[in-house]
Symmetry: C3
Subunit: 138 residues, 3 copies
């Protein structure tokens, strides 16, 4: 069994946003030399998400509107967590979008359906944040 580890860093200029990280994850798989296995991709921060969905800008606007409805950023004082911080909404949004994805690697490639793409979802940005890529297989 082989294993591989890499951290990717993202620094979004806005509080919230989505970045397609599929090419970078595939690059990690290429580097690892692993042909059959599993890749775990997870946010290392608890106000961020890694998830799989569609690379379509209208949908990403819908995510923004929808998550603000389910777990609004403001008013800040609606949340117990927001004593010294203002990011409670980010912790909640990330529960809906998920911390991690586990994807199959087959013949050295991400084994994906036609429209599957991996995204980093940021809910408390404007600073560098890390994503972990861990691969095991052969």
């Amino acid at each position: 069994m082989k294993s591989y580890r890499k951290e990717l860093t993202y620094n979004l200029p806005t509080r919230r946003g989505y970045i397609n990280i599929t090419p970078e994850v595939q690059r990690c798989i290429d580097e690892s030399g692993i042909k059959e296995g599993l890749v775990l991709v997870n946010a290392m921060h608890i106000t961020a998400s890694v998830f799989i969905n569609d690379d379509e800008s209208g949908l990403h606007k819908d995510f923004e509107i929808w998550l603000e409805k389910l777990a609004p950023e403001k008013p800040y004082n609606q949340y117990n967590h927001n004593g010294y911080e203002d990011n409670a909404d980010g912790h909640l949004k990330r529960q809906i979008m998920g911390r991690e994805v586990v994807a199959a690697i087959t013949e050295g490639k991400l084994d994906f359906g036609t429209w599957e793409q991996i995204f980093y979802g940021e809910f408390d940005g404007k600073r560098p944040k890390r994503v972990l890529v861990k691969i095991i297989g052969e």
Copy 2:
């Protein structure tokens, strides 16, 4: 380390619905010959879900009502994604229900609690859609 891959296909006659796919996943494990390891089961489509919960028809009705409240199908024009499509709600519903499950394999069996069952959740059906089963272990 051994690995195994199979695609399962489901074609639901309705826009939304749930199918218990546990027996088919166990059949994949049997075919693989893997006794100790992990099985990844994921929707290959981004308006569908694979998740674990109870095989109880009342609960499945509750899922339907609840998801329609959190991310209603109509009116279609409430979503930016629905320019050429009408399935934005399916993309949102799948975020709540999840894309994938990772389950343990112990002594050749799905290592489950008493009531755990794996479901395919469809949010934009009436066409064939695929589920990936990837197993690694020994």
Copy 3:
């Protein structure tokens, strides 16, 4: 490839609550002797969750209020599932919080960001319930 399996049991005195189980998961990794691999930690019950977020009591109060807003416990008769049972809300809450986490093991340690902690989330407590830890790697 090595594998390891252990069940952890939790018995919360309340219907809902959160327990930080990170030290126990690390102890499982230590026992397994696995240095590089993946650890799966999942609730074996379908009204409970294993998830990663912040160990901050204000946030846990926010989870309680938020989940009660998205999937309220009462009135019990609002749910089809509640014929002989009263825990439909727990099945829904667990979909938002998630069944499982998969985490990386690197050099024998949980490979985590600064604030990542693993929690058992209970949504139908007052009885012993099990969490499965399965590790594969080398």
